[in-house]
Symmetry: C2
Subunit: 225 residues, 2 copies
């Protein structure tokens, strides 16, 4: 299952959103915000925000609301975004190249050190001046370079094998875009991005009204019989 | 804010995972599973699963557990995966091409009808036999073709403008990979994939032990002073 968190993942997943919203407020020169206003913008209740922040010692004052800059900087620290991290991407196909192209990640402290692939046509190419290396030298590279995060953009068939190489060679976290759940040691972090899960919430929502019409009808039938 | 759901999104987001796990059980010829076993595999409590399923009428029997095939097929219907949907991708860069390459989406009923871009070098190319068209004809295309889902893989600067074209021309749902929150009419569904939010949960978790050491120290200081 990988490494557990002290704070529930539901809370952890709201933090980047708080960070994003507060960053936008700062950009718009908003210095102070009431907990009600913040909660309305974010679409969560004020008490939810208060509870979430209390996990980390609590912020803000009654009758004053939040100091945007202080809260933004506190959440930056909570998210570990005041530190820097080295990453590599395994799988330099379209998805790997797309992720390598996100220059904003670098600005937040995530440095991409290399990409890896097994395709000879890709090996040696550069994405934003970062070289695509032969996956055969992955273990050696990890022994010579301290890498915190391995980003998996490979088909599910080889995902576990590559994950093993990563975790046996000091990588502490895997950002997994392969549609499979990985087995990793208990001290390793896995963050899955299952794009199909996200897409299926769309089909659910496109279909929800019709679904509930059917459920109501079935209930009515059961009631009448 | 876009279209609201009847059932909380926390529940909706667990459904694709249930679907994935049950699909794997079926593949491995598991026909029956106790609620405890299912919950252990999924890492959620048995009562959570029961509550989630109760939103849709409830399934399973006391002392028997779940019939895997029935539950899988029920969740397939709940997720609307027994229907078919037409989609287009706007933005045919690496990310757009990566998503166009996911052939599994087609198998689940999501048909990709076209990609759009403004880059003349990309227009006319084909990804899996699907043409990249000029974004200038997007509105016309939408009027001639019933498209359910628009997939946005463009920079944030043009995201709102393209979202407006989509929603004014009959698109009912937007899968948004642009790092910006879109304004859409109340009947339109927006599903955001904010990759940076996912990445920031990794830096949080890499940093959590150290964070709580600091929090404990600060508490101790406050207590001692």
């Amino acid at each position: 299952m990988g490494k557990a968190t002290r704070v529930s993942m539901a809370v952890v997943r709201r933090l980047p959103r708080y960070h994003r919203y507060l960053g936008e407020l700062l950009k718009n020169d908003v210095r102070r915000i009431s907990s009600r206003e913040l909660s309305e913008r974010m679409g969560v209740t004020a008490s939810q925000i208060r509870q979430d922040l209390n996990c980390f010692g609590g912020f803000g004052q009654q009758g004053y609301g939040y100091n945007v800059e202080e809260l933004y900087s506190a959440i930056t620290k909570i998210l570990g975004l005041d530190k820097s991290y080295n990453s590599i991407i395994v799988g330099a196909g379209n998805l790997g190249q797309a992720i390598a192209g996100y220059t904003n990640f670098e600005k937040s402290g995530f440095t991409l050190k290399a990409l890896f692939d097994k395709n000879p046509k890709l090996i040696g190419l550069r994405i934003r001046d970062i070289e695509i290396l032969d996956v055969d030298i992955l273990a050696d590279f990890l022994n010579e370079n301290k890498i915190d995060i391995g980003i998996l953009c490979i088909p599910r068939s080889s995902a576990q094998q590559i994950a093993d190489i990563l975790t046996h060679n000091g990588v502490r976290a895997i950002w997994n875009f392969s549609v499979t759940d990985l087995n990793v040691p208990d001290n390793v972090i896995v963050e899955n991005v299952h794009l199909s899960d996200s897409l299926y919430t769309i089909s659910y929502r496109l279909n929800e009204d019709e679904l509930f019409k059917t459920i109501e009808k079935d209930k009515q039938k059961a009631f009448n019989s």
